[in-house]
Amino acid sequence: MPIDVARYHGWNGTLRGPWYSALAVTRTTLRQVFRRKVLWVLLALGLFNFLLYFALIYASTQLPRVGDRLLERMDFVVRPDAQQRNGYLRFVEQQGLVVMMLLAFAGSVIIGADFRQRGVAFYLAHGLHPVHYLWGKWLAVAVLLALVTALPALVLFVEYGLFTTDWDYWWQNRAVVSSVLGYVLVMAVVLGVLLLALGTWLHKTVPIAITWTSLLVLSGAVAGQLTRSTGNRYWLLLNLWRNVRVVGRWFFGYYPRPEDRLLAPWAALILGGLTALCAALLWWQLVRLRRWD
């Protein structure tokens, strides 16, 4: 191909700081994720669940007798009741399962490929500190998570409010918003850092998915078996996914099982330790790569 011999033109403009550039890391990562068709299948699964509840809430406002019965059968409480039952918690936890699968398959695109194909060096050679890079990547995970959990949950909350004429609903249930956001933040911090750490070490989709599933699902099976055989409920703390749920429920103040309230501080401690460990491993990998790549 012949060279375009057009004159070189300069550019004048103000450049923004590296924290702004971290947002470009986030945008690019999300763009890469949404270009993987297989991930759209999982997103569609989450969307399907959302549409189901959306339709049920609509039915409960327009056809109260049928709709309320359906919601009751689904054990979905639109207005948190005296027993603190909360349908949005249930919805976020269901969506959380989709998130778990989504992140298992997206880990390679989000960060693994950067380590495998010198993407990290590309980012850091633009004057970004590893902190900016990691912030951008974590933000991408958080946005992805919020898109599947927090955003649809809040849409359902708003939907019910819009289809009823009860103005007190907004004020009385305002805590739903902060509870949903708090729960999702816990998921984003723990799952985000864990995924980034796994991605930097394992790089490819299959190893990441296997390890991710082992940590979040297999640990649950092991914990359940140990609890049943010993009768000691503290073995449940081995179940990382359950720990996330137990800590997340703290924002809703609702624990179906009383012992979960007792286990919550320990679960938070374990998740905090795990997150700190993953963050340290992540940092170590980045520094090592910066030196040798």
Partner: protein, 332 residues
């Protein structure tokens, strides 16, 4: 080269564990075209990484545009554009998105970055391929893409790490033509890091040679390539031995050589000699001079000669303990 240096290094040392990558490097890189040459493992990439702020030197001072390296992150982002040797493949991105991402990472807004990406991709000749995915680009086009990514924010200095490595001859020519245009019309300063010394000869006026972590030459290129004053390669026909003996008696340095089974030698004429006197003496000795050409050297031979004559650096264990104990905090 009287301008203020854009990079000033003073006694720069960098170590990876016990391996010394750079040792007491002192350089002042001024605006212009500078070739950074050396064998594999000479310390070129380490030097570039330090300049980019990706590595903190073990010891020594580095200033970028007069600012200590640690506080120069903004200067680096604004005024340096880096083209890496290895291509970072960001999966599923298109060419224009790759370049625009580079612009955004340097600090441009999204809109500015995309507008500018289209412009520079046109300039480097990838206008028609900008919507193709990066992992579908050929090697030559990838090199151009990386150059566009380095140019997107219009930096003053381009740090180019092996820009022609792995290219076929037409691709190499095209890349060199682009760089030549950028240096000439674009007014860019270029630090060209390569082991292809022909590229340096084509583009650079100043050269820094590294060997085993040490600077073995830092200066203008032209004097290196000029042969020794009065050095000629000579071929003749006829009885050469008496003539050569006579020349030696007259103070001419004669180094006989065999060239295609012809009588040949390299001669160094005394300063008060000119070539007419050489022809005159040949005529007197019944020798016919067939060719007489000035000896020109290339950068490769000069580099090898300098590398051979430079002393081997001390092994890491031989470095003074105090030097090893210096922490990076003192680096700048």
């Amino acid at each position: 080269m009287g301008e203020v240096p854009f990079v000033q290094m003073d006694q720069l040392t960098h170590r990876y564990g016990t391996t010394v990558a750079l040792q007491e490097v002192s350089l002042a890189l001024r605006p212009g075209t500078i070739g950074l040459v050396g064998n594999n493992g000479a310390g070129k990439s380490t030097l570039l990484k330090i300049l980019l702020g990706m590595l903190r030197p073990t010891q020594g001072r580095v200033q970028v545009f007069g600012v200590p390296l640690r506080r120069a992150r903004d200067q680096l982002r604004r005024r340096f554009g880096y083209m890496a040797e290895a291509t970072a493949v960001l999966p599923l991105l298109k060419g224009v998105e790759y370049v625009a991402l580079s612009g955004q990472l340097y600090g441009m807004t999204r809109r500015q970055a995309f507008r500018r990406a289209h412009e520079v991709l046109g300039y480097v000749g990838l206008g028609e391929l900008r919507y193709r995915r990066v992992d579908e680009y050929s090697r030559g086009n990838l090199q151009r893409l990386k150059l566009a990514a380095a140019l997107v924010h219009d930096p003053e200095v381009l740090l180019l790490d092996e820009p022609t490595n792995g290219l076929d001859p037409p691709g190499r020519e095209a890349m060199l033509a682009l760089l030549h245009d950028l240096i000439g019309q674009g007014g860019k300063s270029v630090l060209l890091c390569t082991h292809l010394l022909g590229d340096v000869e084509r583009l650079c006026r100043h050269v820094v040679m590294l060997d085993r972590g040490r600077v073995i030459y830092d200066g203008p290129l032209a004097p290196l390539l000029q042969g020794q004053q009065g050095q000629w390669e000579l071929r003749w026909r006829g009885p050469g031995e008496p003539w050569l003996a006579w020349l030696r008696n007259q103070g001419v340095q004669v180094q006989p050589s065999q060239n295609n089974h012809q009588a040949a030698a390299v001669v160094v004429l005394p300063t008060d000699w000119d070539t007419r006197r050489l022809f005159q003496s040949a005529l007197e000795h019944q020798v016919v001079i067939q060719s007489l050409v000035p000896v020109e050297r290339n950068l490769e031979s000069v580099f090898l000669q300098l590398a051979r004559s430079s002393p081997a650096p001390p092994r890491s264990e031989e470095l003074p303990a105090q030097q090893l104990a210096e922490v990076a905090d003192d680096a700048d």
